[in-house]
């Protein structure tokens, strides 16, 4: 059902908090998992069971340090568990869908609440903005009506956000549809009928320009994306992936922050690479010199192999990289082509099987038969 949450005094955040409070008090959930402002002013996901504490949640804060799908897994994966409303960005929702397929999270007892995304700043940029007069939230909210979202002077949105062509809520139980809305009048919401009934909300339509505004934003972002993909592909063709990742320091931050890279027994944390000292000597003798730590390209190529079909483009890998490597651009660009081969779109549909766990007999029938 479609409805509109009333906004008073142009305070969109208060209206969102109010809605989450209602959800907690009357919507049949026992807790809300949402970005929350710590006493120090940082924004982090938190599991909130006390309605009063919801005054500190801030799902509209334009900052992304981690992909919250990572923390939904542990609170949902097995019974007994709480019935939780999880408030996510669209990219986090897509990551959650992939994690469910990878059996690392469960949608049972979960109410997914996804909010159209304004685009986000990196954590350092967000902190700098907070320190220097604050983040202009009103401007961002107003810009959602037209989709003309611009970062504040001297700052840019995260690279992944600038090329995000899926910033709008889809596929969730509850969707706060900010694009195309005059938010001073109210927040258009799509939610299940029984939930609307429990919350005492009646059917109402928003302004109706969401589709056009989303189309416009998607078109603009797709253009940016394609330009950046072309740039990184050119670089990979010219230098190879070993050129693009030449400055990698092997901290594995990209893997640690990646919402899809869930393996607790990751190959690269295993003793497989604890070679005998003499083995390194053999390699050094064979090639004359041998980069250490060893297997840096093997790390990136294996990670591409393991997760690129599920890469949803949140970009936290790039944010986490101390060498400032374009990890997300590489993974998204390679992912786009590889996903296309399997006609797979990560995060699209939880019932769609992962490409590498399924097969049909009558596909790629010429592969392996070459004479």
């Amino acid at each position: 059902m479609k409805t509109v949450i009333p906004v008073e005094g142009n305070d969109v955040l208060a209206a969102v908090r109010g809605f989450l409070k209602q959800l907690l008090e009357r919507g049949g959930v026992e807790a809300v998992l949402a970005p929350m402002v710590t006493p120090a002013g940082a924004v982090t996901p938190a599991l909130v069971s006390d309605a009063a504490a919801l005054d500190a949640v801030d799902p509209l804060a334009p900052v992304m340090g981690l992909n919250a799908a990572r923390v939904v897994g542990p609170v949902s994966i097995r019974e007994p568990r709480g019935r939780i409303a999880v408030v996510l960005r669209p990219c986090e929702m897509r990551a959650l869908v992939e994690l469910v397929k990878l059996q690392q999270a469960s949608l049972n007892d979960l109410v997914t609440v996804v909010i159209d995304c304004t685009g986000t700043y990196s954590v350092p940029d967000y902190d700098a903005l907070r320190a220097n007069g604050g983040v202009d939230r009103a401007a961002l909210m107003a810009a959602m009506a037209t989709g003309d979202l611009v970062p504040q002077d001297g700052f840019t949105f995260r690279d992944a956000c600038e090329m995000c062509e899926k910033p709008h809520a889809v596929g969730a139980d509850v969707m706060l549809e900010l694009f195309g809305a005059d938010l001073s009048a109210g927040i258009p919401v799509t939610l299940p009928d029984e939930m609307a009934q429990a919350l005492g909300l009646s059917a109402a339509e928003g302004s109706g320009t969401r589709v056009q505004v989303v189309d416009k934003v998607v078109a603009a972002r797709t253009k940016v994306r394609d330009a950046r993909f072309a740039e990184i592909r050119q670089q990979m063709d010219a230098e190879g992936i070993e050129g693009v990742f030449a400055s990698c320091v092997r901290c594995h931050n990209c893997m640690t922050t990646c919402p899809i890279c869930y393996c607790k027994t990751c190959l690269f944390k295993s003793p497989i690479f604890d070679h005998e000292p003499i083995q390194f000597m053999n390699w050094a003798r064979r090639k004359g010199a041998y980069r250490l730590p060893a297997d840096t390209m093997l790390f990136h190529l294996t990670r591409l192999n393991h997760m690129v079909l599920s890469c949803i483009g949140c970009g936290v890998c790039s944010d986490a990289c101390p060498a400032d490597l374009p990890v997300a651009r590489v993974f998204r660009a390679v992912g786009q082509q590889t996903q296309a081969v399997f006609e797979y779109e990560p995060g699209r549909d939880v019932t769609e099987p992962l490409p590498l766990i399924t097969f049909t007999e009558n596909e790629w029938t010429s592969v392996g038969e070459e004479r």
């Binding site: 992936i241 190529l301 490409p355 596909e363």
Partner: protein
């Protein structure tokens, strides 16, 4: 190293039930084929982790051959179908990453196809000779 002297090294991951047995048949049938292939026997083409292929290529192998049972003949019902998808994905990723995916060959060779095994190794050796050495052979910074 001149092209005449270049002898490619092929790392072959062969399934126990079909291609390895096919290679064995090539041997017992005294079929001649180039000595450029180093065979590693696995239980199934479906147990070839793409990381094995990557490790071989990055350490300088000139080619990697994955051999399995023909579709429908897998000893474990579906291992080769899964291998097929994995190798399709791997080759796409190699191509996108600026690496030469043509150095990776997947071939279905049954236990009775000793000649096909010998032909495959011969063709692959020739193709790799034409390509020249894997540049990763000299690359220390990978």
């Amino acid at each position: 190293m001149t092209d005449e002297q270049f002898e490619p090294k092929i790392v072959a991951f062969l399934c126990n039930w079909c291609t390895y047995t096919g290679a064995d048949l090539a041997g017992t049938s005294r079929i001649q084929y180039p000595p450029n292939v180093r065979i590693i026997r696995l239980m199934c083409s479906g147990s070839v982790d793409p990381t094995y292929v990557l490790k071989a290529l990055l350490d300088g192998a000139d080619g990697v051959l994955i051999g399995g049972c023909h579709p429908g003949d897998c000893h474990y019902q579906s291992g080769n179908y899964k291998a097929r998808r994995r190798i399709v994905a791997l080759k796409e990723i190699l191509k996108q990453a600026g690496l030469d995916e043509e150095r990776v060959w997947l071939r279905w060779i049954s236990a009775s196809e000793g000649q096909r095994f010998a032909d495959t190794v011969t063709q692959m050796t020739e193709a790799l000779k034409a390509k020249g050495p894997n540049p990763m052979r000299q690359e220390w910074a990978v």
